[in-house]
Amino acid sequence: MSTISIKNLRKTYGPYMAVDDLSFEIPEACVFGLLGPNGAGKTTTFKCMLGLARPTSGTVLYGGLPLVPATQQHIAYVPERSVLYDWMTVAEHVEMQRRAYAKFSVPKANELLRQFGIDQRKKTRALSKGMRTATMVALAIAREADILIFDEPTSGLDPINQRHVLNLIINESARGATVIFSSHQIGQVERAAERIAVVDRGRLALEGSVDDLKSDRKIVEAILPSETFALNGLAGDPRITRIDRNGRIVRALTSHDAQDVLARFEALGASGLRIVDLNLEDIFLCAVSPADATADVVEGR
């Protein structure tokens, strides 16, 4: 199972466009983070990838081939909400997976469930939200699938188990599996993901290697002489991707030479100039929050 290609994926629910012309590729054995605000279309993208929802248009290819029932042997999915059967025990879920998937490892499932402290004799209705999530994660990892898709895999887990799940995800990648996951905890994504895609209102806002995205972008921070100080068209500078202003403090995102932008600020009479490295949260916020809204403020109008 090699590269996953998503091409021009579009999914509408009546008049609502959940996913709009989404295209990106997920390389084999990569940890891929799918980020986006609530309602951005992450879960719908996963559902289209898995055949749980029919795309309105576009394709999802696994190693160049469309999804067929046999492909499901190689894909494990953990949805964001519990889909376990309330009336079944955890052990019965293990048995269900064993019967359905050729590579499912019962010893591995037993070990993971033990690590999470889950009693297999319990019916899943007796488990807490976090324990249900942990059960689903354990069952998915015990599948020994080539592709693992996790939608908010740490939702409801305590910090210890969040860390444990993250380690499991990284271990799966080390095993050679392709891991795709979404999370609102950007720190987790930053720690685990090699590549990310940011979707916003169904559209791809950003995609690339985490390291590249961070190294390509810098923030130039400056203190302006006054709160109403005009920036003389700085917001329209093609070298500046985005600019935010909070009182006298201005932060400009650039993917060009940061020194040039810094010199521009210096020429305007700004003080406290410095170039700051971006973290993933900055990249995410820049990708999804509207920059136009601050234009007036930036220009001091």
Binding site: A53, P79, V83, M96
Partner: protein, 335 residues
């Protein structure tokens, strides 16, 4: 691949078996409770046996144990032909006529016949009457209909919250659907068999039934099996696309079916409103499988004079159409 459905069916049958077990225990309690006074004949036998001057003789006649209890002073003769546990008994009591007179009856294996002659009455009680097996089949069919109703919404159960499990199995949706239907069909059939066995056991507690299969033919067997399957398929077709509310559909399925059949039964020669109601509901009732299993409707001609093969044919058609509708819907559901 259909392990979850198998578990559902197993749980359903487990509960159903417990209910049947309770009924058997209840029958046993009744049997024990009435064992000492279950018949006037037994009372007479006990009474006469204790009378002075009574002679009791045992013999073997044509392989049957015969006991004759005779009391000349009371002019009473009792003949008991015992054919063993599985063969039943024939008890004939001849005694002076009394004022009480009983209606000749035939219930299950039991029959009572009374005749009078020259101031004497002869009461013959038989426990070896043949029991039409078709009765047990119909009892089994009713049970199958109930279980078919309970199991009738398997896809709605998945559709509610579990599509991420059900649809990600490495099989086509059609194969998954057919597997699920197959598991449910097996469960429904097993419930019928369990019910028939339980009914026979209950009957045997009172007297081992001499089963008569002469009226049980292939058409009847098909009717008994296909009727519940058609009902299951109908509920399934109605509920498959539902994410919520399938329980209400299942709960109201029987009342709704009987309302439709009842309103379809309003005579056409009634009021104009009645005629309209009849026409609408008659039409709707054609696609309700229960219509073809409802004896009331047969008597009132709503189904017409459909014979058993015709009913089997219609029920088979409904079963296939509803089954196909359920599968087609399942192929289209989205999480």
């Amino acid at each position: 691949m259909n392990y979850v459905e198998w578990l559902r069916v197993r749980n359903c049958l487990r509960i159903y078996a417990i209910v049947l077990g309770c009924l058997i225990v209840l029958a046993l309690i009744i049997r024990i409770s009435i064992s000492n006074w279950m018949s006037d004949e037994q009372y007479t036998i006990d009474r006469v046996s204790r009378e002075p001057g009574t002679t009791i003789t045992h013999s073997m006649v044509d392989g049957v144990n015969r006991t004759v209890i005779e009391n000349a002073r009371e002019r009473t003769t009792i003949t008991i032909d015992n054919k063993g546990f599985f063969g039943g008994k024939v008890i004939t009591i001849t005694e002076p006529a009394t004022e009480r007179s009983r209606v000749n009856q035939h219930i299950g294996s039991f029959s009572f016949q009374e005749s009078h002659s020259a101031g004497m009455q002869t009461v013959t009680t038989r426990t070896d009457e043949p029991v039409n097996f078709a009765i047990f089949l119909v009892i089994g069919m009713v049970a199958m209909l109930l279980v078919a109703t309970i199991l009738g919404a398997p896809f709605a159960a998945e559709n509610k919250d579990h599509l991420e499990i059900a649809l990600l199995k490495p099989v086509t949706r059609t194969r998954y659907a057919l597997g699920t239907i197959g598991v449910d069909a097996a469960g429904i059939a097993v419930s019928g068999v369990l019910t028939i066995i339980a009914a026979i056991v209950c009957q045997a507690m009172f007297e081992v039934p001499q089963l008569d299969f002469s009226q049980t033919d292939g058409w009847l067997l098909l009717f008994v099996v296909i009727g519940p399957f058609a009902w299951y398929a109908a509920i399934n077709a109605v509920t498959t696309s539902l994410k919520r509310g399938s329980g209400a559909v299942v709960g109201f399925a029987w009342p709704a079916a009987f309302v439709i059949i009842g309103l379809a039964g309003i005579p056409i020669q009634g009021t104009p409103v009645g005629q309209v109601v009849h026409t609408i509901f008659w039409g709707v009732s054609r696609i309700v499988p229960i219509t073809y299993m409802h004896e009331f409707e047969v008597r009132h001609g709503v189904v017409g004079d459909l014979d058993l093969p015709s009913r089997v044919g219609i029920l088979s058609l409904l079963m296939l159409v509803y089954g196909a509708l359920a599968v087609l819907q399942w192929r289209r559901v989205e999480a």
